[in-house]
Symmetry: C2
DNA sequence: ACAAAAGTGTTGACAATACACCCATGT
DNA sequence: ACATGGGTGTATTGTCAACACTTTTGT
């Protein structure tokens, strides 16, 4: 017999920086310390449903990109007994969300990757694992789109990749590469109120993506 | 409070076919039916250790390639109560192993992928998920080597990829591609007792692989 | 001689990379 | 005028894919 919890690593992207949503514990000895949002699985609920429910409670959103990462279960990861946790990995479009603090969290805050504090239990390990997962995932499928607004420019997309992968890219080559994939739909719309030439906006086309994945394709940068 | 188990999908490769090791249940109502080898996690043991221990008990080997897959936890996956299972994924060099039946298994047998019967609980789902994982994994890192003997020919390696990915490849192009990666060490040895021109044997070089992964490289076929 | 796989070579199409350059817009 | 990003073009080099061909060995 063991206890099982869920912990979620929620990524967002804002002004060129990759961020993670953390919550401050509202109860117990760990009060005031930061950690990953999480909770328990209910008796008649699948693990995926539990993760969706927890995320909806915290962010008010229910159509989030969500993937199970893996289970973390070092015997001493939790001081008060054996607790195995199942890590989840979420990508959200930050501007859609009104983050509200959940029931056991007195506060929730976005942290830039470089500014992440020491977290409770093994949450830093889970976070590190997620980051690595994100870097791999983003090279295999266009999951990165889940971090951007519906409409975005090619430059914004490139900056997202640069930030996640920690590399610099060539504007012109990135443009050719991504457009050749035919995954983006060019809109009849341009940026507004920018202090430079306005760029065309693009949308991600889910249907084309699904067609391509059936055939098998790769998304290397 | 929940119960947690571990279930392992063990892949082997024999005479050009991909195979999975299944065990026959020795107890209870399900006696005689086939399933994935598995067991319980001990109180003071990490999840990975538990998986290694279970595999060692079953196969007599303790240096197996092993990866956690993910947790499976549909509320009704197990009929007698809520049990979450953590799936593991193992690759073994078949010729090294003397498979011995474990304590709760009266028999263990290798099944070709195409011949897998209906398994207990959700084990077919876990197996399907593993297969998909293997197909992805093999494209990202040279994990396939764990299924081959220490010394192998380029043709055997190609046949392994063809079988796993379900595609046909060009001998000449495969050869160039794999040799260009510099992951293989050419040995001063040749095949024996084959009814055709004997091929050079190669070895996989773990150190070169580690150097390359740090730099980031990809392994597309 | 034949079968079966080993192993080499060639070619054309396509993609990656680096870099130069002009365009539009707000300050 | 200048900074910032938008957007186009090009030349070089590398890789992929198809396939034709020669070599070696056992039956």
């Amino acid at each position: 017999m063991n206890s099982i919890t869920i912990d979620c690593v929620i990524f967002g992207f804002d002004k060129g920086s990759l961020e993670v949503l953390l919550v401050q514990h509202g109860e117990g000895i760990r009060k005031g310390e930061w950690g990953l949002p999480g909770g328990w699985i209910r008796e008649r609920e699948s693990i995926d449903n539990a993760a969706h429910r927890l995320l909806a409670d915290l962010t008010g959103l229910d159509s989030i990109y969500l993937e199970q990462l893996k289970a973390f279960g070092e015997p001493d990861r939790f001081p008060l007994g054996r607790v195995i946790t199942i890590g989840y990995f979420a990508l959200i479009k930050k501007e859609d969300y009104d983050v509200r603090a959940g029931f056991t969290a007195s506060d929730a805050k976005w942290y830039k990757i470089a500014d992440i504090p020491k977290l409770i239990y093994d949450h830093n390990d889970i976070l590190d694992y997620s980051l690595e997962h994100l870097r791999n995932r983003v090279r295999q499928a266009p999951v990165g789109f889940n971090l951007l607004p519906e409409k975005f420019t090619l430059f914004e997309l490139m900056k997202l990749y640069e930030e996640i992968l920690g590399i610099e890219m060539d504007k012109s080559n990135f443009r050719r590469k991504i457009l050749r994939m035919k995954l983006l739909v060019e809109l009849d719309e341009k940026q507004k109120d920018v202090s430079h030439r306005a760029a065309k906006l693009y949308e991600f086309d889910q249907k084309i993506y699904e067609k391509l994945t059936k055939k098998g394709f790769n998304f290397e940068f």
